[in-house]
């Protein structure tokens, strides 16, 4: 393991990021409880009762998904210069840093999304209308997309205010949420395959774009 870490420095970054998250517990103690609170309040505001009708289920899911992802993406801000400084002292290349960072973010976000969906299903009594394997693949691809965008936006918007960051992120997350929501509402088998293929392409594109931008800028 020691040799592996020294050979592949992204594992070093991965271990560091997961240790920080375990210590701060921002996702577990801040992001998920806030989303859960919105999950409870949203139907009361929209429908005036604690029940989500089938007509607004799509909107409900998109809003919550975006809220969760926005809170997750803006939970901590990375300062570009600090990253550079740390990587310089540790002898880590930007490519290794990006790889370690994105894997750690996906490891944190993926179970959070599953937990969120589980709570949402329990509260709305509307099960997810797709097979369990499809659900896991889609959620995994979705979390990779979110993390790529999050790292990219954190990288290009290195300033104090979070407002612009939230606006940029929300604009990109909405179309991604629109791809995820049909899973809840249920689409045909053929459409699911097309969606998956499309989603896979989008994921590759976003990861590639974010990776190249990160390395070029440093």
């Amino acid at each position: 393991m020691k040799n592996l870490i020294s050979q592949y420095q992204f594992i070093n970054v991965l271990v560091k990021e997961l240790t920080i998250e375990r210590r701060r517990k921002q996702t577990l103690l801040v992001v998920i409880p806030i989303t859960f609170a919105i999950l409870l309040v949203f139907p009361l505001v929209i429908e005036g009762r604690s029940f989500v009708s089938k007509e607004i289920l799509g909107t409900y899911h998109i809003v919550l998904l975006i809220t969760l992802c926005l809170l997750f993406s803006t939970r901590s801000s990375d300062n570009n210069f600090d990253i550079k400084k740390v990587n310089q002292l540790a002898g880590i290349s930007q490519s290794e840093h990006f790889l370690g960072k994105i894997i750690s973010e996906v490891i944190i976000l993926f179970p959070s999304l599953i937990l969120f969906d589980y709570i949402a299903v329990a509260l709305t009594n509307h099960p997810i209308q797709t097979s369990i394997s499809n659900y896991f693949i889609f959620t995994f691809l979705f979390s990779i997309c979110i993390c790529s965008i999050s790292i990219f936006v954190n990288f290009i918007s290195d300033f104090d205010t979070k407002l612009l960051q939230i606006l940029i992120l929300a604009t990109v997350f909405i179309p991604l949420g629109l791809v995820m929501t049909p899973l809840w509402l249920g689409v045909s088998r053929e459409l699911t395959s097309i969606y998956m293929l499309m989603f896979f392409g989008v994921t590759l594109l976003l990861v590639g774009f974010s990776w190249i931008t990160n390395i070029k800028r440093f």
Partner: protein
């Protein structure tokens, strides 16, 4: 290791339009200690960051030549350590992921007088203590070129001895130490070459 050198020629550094370093040249051949002196805003930190490869200014002209195998480390004027990790975790992270044994880690911390704090969070430490841990990391890395940005900041007399030890180690290993200082007259750290940026 004998071909270790820094060769900077006609360097101009600026943030925006106003250049604070104009046509600066520096040639260092072989193991030596270089002191860069300058008043506030003279460009000491930027120059060291430029040598270390993390300068973020808008414009730069001129060139820097370093041998390909040379490793450069920078001790910046603000700590680079990760606040949410313990001292021992920081040491592991910065020494290329756990290749360091527990005994080596302890020996390293003894050298910088921080052995009692290895299970403390970095965020709870003082600036001087953080600086000592960074020095421990540099001692382990033993780079060819070390840039120290105002290394005497935050350090007491014991801490200054640690800096002296680091500089001796680097020069002994045929390396180059470039450090910046605000003091022209007071010499807390020895040097072979002095450069005035004012």
């Amino acid at each position: 290791m004998n071909d270790i050198r820094i060769n900077i020629s006609d360097l101009t550094l600026s943030y925006g339009k106003d250049a604070f370093i104009k046509n600066f040249s520096l040639k260092v051949n072989g193991p030596s200690v270089v002191k860069i002196y300058g008043s506030n805003g003279a460009g000491k930190t930027s120059l060291l960051r430029y040598i270390a490869g993390i300068y973020e200014g808008n414009e730069k002209e001129g060139s820097i030549e370093l041998e390909a195998h040379q490793t450069i480390k920078l001790l910046d004027n603000t700590p680079s350590l990760i606040d949410d990790l313990y001292v021992r975790e920081n040491i592991k992270f910065f020494t290329k992921g756990s290749l360091i044994t527990k005994q080596q880690q302890e020996e390293l911390l003894v050298k910088v007088g921080m052995q009692e704090f290895q299970d403390d969070l970095v965020s709870t430490l003082s600036s001087g203590m953080k600086r000592r841990i960074e020095i421990a990391i540099l001692l382990w890395a033993s780079p060819s070129i070390v840039c120290l940005d105002e290394p005497d900041n935050f350090l007491d007399d014991d801490g200054m001895q640690v800096i002296d030890y680091l500089i001796k180690q680097i020069v002994q290993n045929q390396g180059i130490v470039v450090y910046s200082s605000l003091d022209w007259g007071k010499e807390r750290i020895g040097y072979d070459m002095k450069v005035d940026l004012d």
